[in-house]
Symmetry: C2
Amino acid sequence: MPWKKVKNLLATQSILLASGSPRRREILSLLGLPMEVATPQVDEKPPADKDVFSQISEIAEKKAGWARSYYPHHLIIAADTEVILEGRLWGKPKSREEAKAMLLALSGRTHIVATSVVVLFPRRERYLFQEKTLVTLARFSADDLDEYLSCENPLDKAGGYGIQDFFGACFIERIDGCFYNVMGFPLPRFCQFMSRLEFTDT
Amino acid sequence: MPWKKVKNLLATQSILLASGSPRRREILSLLGLPMEVATPQVDEKPPADKDVFSQISEIAEKKAGWARSYYPHHLIIAADTEVILEGRLWGKPKSREEAKAMLLALSGRTHIVATSVVVLFPRRERYLFQEKTLVTLARFSADDLDEYLSCENPLDKAGGYGIQDFFGACFIERIDGCFYNVMGFPLPRFCQFMSRLEFTDT
């Protein structure tokens, strides 16, 4: 991968990360590039008439569109990460009770974590890709969850858990695929994706 | 998993983590339990007459034995993590040049990361398990590595990379198995393992 090319390219741009997720910010900070951050004010409810994977891309597109209207000259990076089980999106829980019910449904099973990433260039080119990872959780009980829910905040995380918190450390038996994707941003794929683009005009 | 049982059990013990790895410390801190830490002063050179997976266990046993001689009444946790490719251990690089050569050998291929964990109880019971994870790296060039080697320290990491640093974020295409294992301690497996033990005497 021509990593220097990617880094040099990005270094010439004003970058705006359109995301409220602290984990996504943390992952992208590994690139060591200056980056502005803004939390998109959009309705994240997915359009019900599409398949789940298209729904995720649509939410990411919405976030990118919101950012473009405020930041017309930036290279915009937007993303949406969702948990999928039984063919449907599980979203972010609205309460601890809902988080508990979600997590109990995931206990002892394999689910999909999918992230859609949208990159908008200042000259209006738009790129989109999606990364999927399988996550297998150990079996756990409602009692086990009380411990987790009493000390962590499950409400800002799709599916109610974070791969890097107490829950992830104890209950994620295995993942198959990109683990940064499960954290919220598939950086390896992003770097590969960017390295394949030709930039002659920006 | 009877998580509360594990946590309550561990809370009754004085725990000593026999490891110099800051990442291992960080992972175990997710348990939220008080823990002492000591860096084992042992020869980590593996015994050449054993298969690679037994070599890793032997190094972990050595570390645990070292800790026992200084901490006779603690519950001791020791571990050794190694990178395996082409049937041999790759160890920690001794110089940046060696790190570069190691990483170039791993480029574009799948290797194994294996950790042996030894748990010694105060009454002399000893337990050992091993966790293996497959890690697939993207193709990268010597040029790509210069960037990494100029800003990170590869010398304290088996194989010369960290899953959570700049390199991991950009070049680890996928992992199959436990990602905490790749960081240096398979905490999910540890919790499951501990939950299956019966403690009547400690």
